[in-house]
């Protein structure tokens, strides 16, 4: 198989009883670009958190590169995560590290060579337009700037899979398009991209596979789809 991600009958119940995912079946090919759309609370973030095992499914199997990560051993989890770049909806930057250090961290974790780190981090910060903020701390950044640091960190180690949870939620349209450019480029280089988004403009203009989620179920799976939900 060249399936990067496969889900088989995945269910997720949160400890308080909320059923966030109700039987997801899905397969995403290596190099595909998939939008996840759906109303607020549909389960997009929950779906995404399954892929890098921030959450374990209550039921079902999730294969990343043909390995079932639902039954992955704890010690193996970090190695899974290193193959997946993640843009968090709430950014999750390390508050005591500068912008530079936050991005570099993802490379230090994989014990990249220090000289390599420097060059690569500067390149990526340039891509997201934050070279001038490299010495700032997260709490000294605007919302959109924090979001871009999170994006920079997710792509810095060139992961084969990129997962982005609403990566343009705090960005103006112009900056959003810049980011989409970056995503397009790394997608062209073979990176699988899963992106949860509310941005109708982007989904409609840059056509890719669209996965509609509602009430924790896949209600639409459309190649070259549009955002849908027209008002």
């Amino acid at each position: 198989m060249s399936d990067a991600i496969v889900m088989q009958n995945v269910w997720k119940a949160y400890p308080n009883g909320v059923m966030a995912l109700n039987g997801i079946d899905l397969s995403v090919k290596q190099g595909e670009f998939v939008y996840i759309v759906g109303p607020s609370g549909a389960g997009k973030s929950t779906f995404i958190k399954m892929i890098f095992r921030e959450l374990k499914p209550t039921r079902g199997k999730i294969f990343i590169n043909n390995k079932n990560i639902a039954s992955l051993r704890e010690r193996q989890v970090p190695y899974l995560r290193r193959k997946i770049g993640i843009v968090f909806q709430d950014f999750r930057l390390l508050p005591k590290l500068t912008v530079y250090e936050n991005v570099a961290f993802a490379l230090e974790v994989i014990e990249e060579h220090p000289r390599q780190i420097k060059k690569r981090v500067m390149d990526v910060l340039d891509l997201v337009g934050l070279k001038h903020k490299l010495r700032s701390f997260p709490n000294q950044l605007s919302g959109g700037e924090q979001q871009r640091v999170s994006i920079a960190r997710s792509i810095v180690n060139r992961p084969p899979v990129l997962i982005a949870d609403e990566p343009t939620g705090n960005l103006d349209p112009e900056t959003s398009w810049q980011i989409m450019d970056v995503f397009k480029r790394i997608n062209d280089q073979g990176t699988t991209i899963i992106m949860a988004t509310h941005n109708r403009d982007i989904v409609n203009k840059v056509r890719h596979r669209v996965l509609g989620l509602e009430g924790g179920m896949i209600v639409r799976d459309q190649q070259e789809g549009d955002y849908g939900y027209e008002d």
């Binding site: 921030e54 970090p78 995560r81 993640i86 999750r92 508050p95 993802a106 974790v109 960190r153």
Partner: protein, 275 residues
């Protein structure tokens, strides 16, 4: 944040250090006093020289007796008068007609054996009386035993308390960094990678926290040793020598500090690693 932890270590170790300083000395003094306990065997005034020599050998033969020493009546009186302090002058009459008998002084191998030895000694001929400060010695022993037990309980309590306090403080500082640890893990850091800085931090914290207690112990013991030492020596009480005490206690404090620091740090990190 780290300041909070270092100062918790400092505070705890100051208490532990001062307390240990006192305890070690009390323990030594108690030991000294114990080993000073002796059995006095009073002899019949009419005992002959040869009988006396036989008795000495026989006494020496009693199980657990380590040393037998003869104390003449004169020596005995002097000792008695000495123990009365400077009221001695009033007793000049006594020296003319000494009412005390001659005696053998026995030392036992272990202080606790005094009582058994005394019971045997009293059965020999020509022995009029055997004294070992009955009651007094027994009370002294039980006092020392109680004091030691109380001391051990206190020191364990104090240590436990310190560990608890320090761990508590460290935990609070690390809880504040919970999300930090979780983010690291989500970005692909292994447990070891996350733990490492916390290990170092715990170690540094522990060692730094033991600096003030060590200095304090040194200063306080120097003062105590050189100021009180003399007075106490007059009362036949010897303190643990300055350098022995300070060296041992310093090492002990650093070790305790480092151990608790590292343990508290790693222990607090542990539960946030499970993501």
């Amino acid at each position: 944040m780290t300041f909070a932890s270092v100062s918790a270590v400092t505070v705890a170790l100051v208490l532990v250090g001062l307390f240990l300083m006192v305890m070690f000395n009390l323990n030594k003094i108690a030991g000294d006093i114990e080993s000073d306990v002796e059995v006095r065997v009073y002899l019949d005034q009419s005992i002959s020289q040869s009988e006396q020599e036989t008795l000495a050998t026989e006494l020496k033969g009693i199980k657990n007796v380590q040393e037998v020493r003869f104390q003449s009546k004169k020596e005995g009186l002097n000792n008695l008068l000495e123990s009365l302090g400077n009221d001695k002058k009033s007793f000049t009459d006594l020296q003319k007609e000494n009412p005390l008998p001659n005696a053998f002084i026995l030392k036992t191998k272990q202080p606790e054996q005094t009582i058994a030895v005394a019971k045997k000694a009293v059965q020999f001929p020509n022995v009029t009386d055997v004294r070992y400060g009955k009651g007094t010695v027994e009370r002294l022993f039980s006092f020392i035993r109680i004091a030691r037990n109380v001391g051990i309980v206190l020191i364990l309590g104090l240590l436990f308390t310190s560990v608890f306090l320090i761990a508590n403080t460290i935990k609070l500082t690390i809880v504040a960094r919970r999300s930090e640890i979780e983010i690291m893990k989500l970005v692909g850091a292994t447990n070891a990678f996350v733990r490492w800085p916390y290990f170092i931090e715990g170690l540094v914290m522990g060692v730094m926290g033991s600096i003030i207690p060590i200095v304090l112990v040194m200063v306080v013991y120097r003062l105590a040793y050189y100021n009180l030492g003399g007075d106490l020596q007059q009362m036949f009480i010897k303190l643990i020598p300055y350098h022995t005490m300070v060296t041992n206690l310093s090492l002990l404090l650093v070790a305790i500090g480092a151990l608790i620091g590292v343990w508290g740090s790693l222990n607090s990190v542990r539960k946030f690693l499970k993501i």
